[in-house]
């Protein structure tokens, strides 16, 4: 690193914001990073839509209507209907529930487990660290989607298993990043002090080290959110994720959407737009969060 890094205004602002309380932090973030705030707004909108799906959806997402199969977008069906006459807009709205559930579930569990493993690995060092790294290497050498596929095949198709299948490949990736941050924290005097005071390993890891890797943790978490939604869509598209008739964006792109793509393009276009928009919003927010918290950390 060069010595002449410009004075880090952002860090200073963050410190000021911390004194101003969380509302001050939010206001500060919106002010300094409008793009990230826009992303956060879309995410918030998605959350609201997901929670109030039963209130705002014009139709029952699973109700089959053979009188209105493959209907064009119209006043009755804003985004048209699919091959079973189900309202595309309603399915999109309910699909946000699936996407957010899987996204948050997998990202929170994956990033947290990864953080604990990463910090633990860095803290204990030596042989524990070495063996743990080897095991994580093995998991990382597995392509993400292939590992998820195998897990779904083992555990069967259900929403819980799908979340688990997406979570497991994320753990080692997060653990690696967190470990490298935690390595420097282990050398901090306060960790030595805690050890000298006779605190147990668990207490030092959870109370003293974990809070100090919050920045990379939050960054990994937000980047996993988008990835989890994408992975869920891919698995559902393959028929290995969410099963019919549950509404899910990836599932809506499967089968008939491709077969009828020419005569009923709305079936293929809108669910994909929903996926892109959601992941785009999460990434915008995550990017700005990273710039604010730890500009040097690189995520995908």
């Amino acid at each position: 690193m060069a010595i002449n890094v410009p004075f880090d205004v952002v860090e200073l602002a963050a410190a000021e914001a911390a004194r101003a309380g969380w509302w001050g932090t939010v206001k500060d973030f919106c002010h300094r990073r409008p793009v990230g705030a826009a992303g956060a707004a879309v995410v918030l909108l998605l959350v609201v839509v997901a929670f109030s799906a039963n209130l705002i959806a014009p139709y029952d997402p699973e109700k089959v209507d053979f009188a209105a199969m493959l209907a064009r977008p119209s006043a009755a069906h804003w985004l048209g209907t699919d091959a079973f006459g189900r309202d595309v807009l309603s399915r999109l709205i309910y699909g946000s529930r699936t996407a957010l559930l899987v996204g948050f579930g997998a990202a929170v569990v994956g990033a947290t487990a990864g953080a604990v493993l990463g910090v633990g690995s860095a803290y204990f060092g030596g042989r524990v660290d070495l063996y743990l790294q080897r095991v994580l290497d093995i998991f990382i050498a597995f392509p993400l989607i292939i590992l998820a596929l195998a897990i779904v095949a083992i555990l069967g198709n259900s929403l819980h298993n799908l979340i688990l299948a997406i979570t497991i490949p994320m753990i080692p990736r997060c653990a690696l990043v967190i470990r490298s941050s935690a390595l420097s924290i282990r050398e901090m005097p306060y960790v030595d002090a805690a050890r000298a005071a006779g605190f147990g390993h668990a207490r030092i890891i959870l109370r003293h080290m974990l809070p100090n890797v919050m920045a990379p943790y939050l960054i990994m978490l937000t980047s996993f959110l988008g990835q989890a939604i994408l992975l869920e869509a891919s698995l559902s598209f393959l028929g290995l994720g969410v099963q019919e008739p549950t509404a899910a964006w990836g599932l809506m792109l499967r089968g008939a959407a491709v077969d009828f793509a020419e005569s009923a393009p709305w079936m293929a276009v809108f669910p994909g737009l929903a996926i892109s928009l959601a992941v785009f919003a999460f990434n915008l927010f995550g990017d700005s969060l990273r710039d604010a918290l730890d500009p040097k950390l690189r995520t995908l």
Binding site: A141, P143, G226, L238, L253, A261, P265, V269, G272
Partner: protein
């Protein structure tokens, strides 16, 4: 390298044995009249599935050591033969997609870094974040749709090897390469941008400017060359991922590549095929990583390996 591969082998071997149901059950599930206990047992014996697990594992390992991957449980054909055809397709697609990705990423990333916080930068960032957010398979669907609606034309659906008919081959593979390459370019653009930004602040860049070096020369020789390291890493990782992870895009474009073979092998409980494929993909990943490390040492003489 070898210990990791061995770990992968152990892991996939037992993972597949945990998956409920085996190939024999699956084969006979449609024909209940043949599924007597004796028939099932005879079939299992034919595959060696009646032996204890450790015996099966040692047999498989002994085969691997002699580079004998065995035969596919489902088709009975030698696994190497089955994989060879698909490997060519997946490799070609991965190379094409990586080329597309790098060709987009380098100029875009450098431009974004040079014009930081201008509209060029914002545009590059939006394009690249959108690239990560857009599922490649959906992009593929949209491409096919556009070709169909606007040009009334569809890419050929049957795979022609490059050496048979390069033109036919390109007509088919350029679309998935574009769809996947866009995603790869997104990742690489962001990396190029942030690496360039970091390098441009280094002391030696200031020195180069101070001694009056031409700006293009500074960019090419001093900045870009040093910024290439992290870009190379992500490109390499993405490339390794492309070799086996294109399951969904292959489905959309009706390509018979490694990804599709893998899904079939898992759903059919074709143990030997799944194991061989996982090992292959993991080896590609590990070898690519190994070459990355070598390239690091070569590109950046400051890095030395003990």
């Amino acid at each position: 390298m070898i210990p990791t591969l061995f770990g992968v082998a152990v892991f996939i071997f037992f993972l597949m044995r945990i998956v409920p149901g085996d190939i024999v059950e699956l084969r006979f599930s449609g024909e209940s009249s043949y599924a007597s206990k004796e028939n099932l047992a005879a079939e299992r014996a034919r595959f060696g599935l009646d032996k204890p697990l450790w015996h099966q594992f040692v047999t498989w390992m002994w085969g691997l050591v002699r580079l004998d991957f065995g035969t596919s449980m489902w088709t009975g054909a030698p696994i190497l033969e089955e994989i060879k055809l698909r490997f060519a397709l997946s490799l070609q697609l991965a190379i094409m997609a990586t080329t597309v990705g790098v060709l987009i990423a380098l100029p875009l990333g450098v431009a974004a870094a040079l014009k930081q916080d201008t509209w060029v930068d914002y545009l590059a960032r939006v394009v690249s974040i959108a690239g990560i957010a857009t599922p490649s398979f959906w992009l593929g669907i949209l491409m096919i749709l556009t070709l169909l609606v606007v040009f009334h034309w569809l890419p050929p659906m049957v795979y022609t090897p490059f050496w048979v008919n390069p033109w036919q081959n390109m007509l088919q593979l350029i679309w998935p390469a574009l769809a996947v390459g866009y995603r790869l370019s997104a990742v690489a653009t962001r990396m190029t941008r942030s690496a360039m930004l970091e390098v441009l602040r280094e002391d030696y860049i200031r020195t180069a400017r101070a001694k009056g070096l031409v700006e293009t020369l500074i960019l090419k020789r001093h900045a870009l060359k040093n910024a290439m390291l992290p870009v190379l890493t992500v490109t390499g990782i993405e490339f390794a991922f492309l070799m086996g992870g294109l399951v969904v895009t292959e489905q959309v474009f009706n390509l018979n590549g490694l990804g599709l073979l893998f899904v079939q092998a898992v759903t059919r409980r074709d143990y030997t095929m799944t194991q061989a494929l996982v090992l292959l993909v993991a080896s590609v990943f590990i070898i690519v990583n190994f070459f990355m490390d070598l390239m690091y040492g070569w590109l950046d003489p400051r890095i030395r390996y003990r």
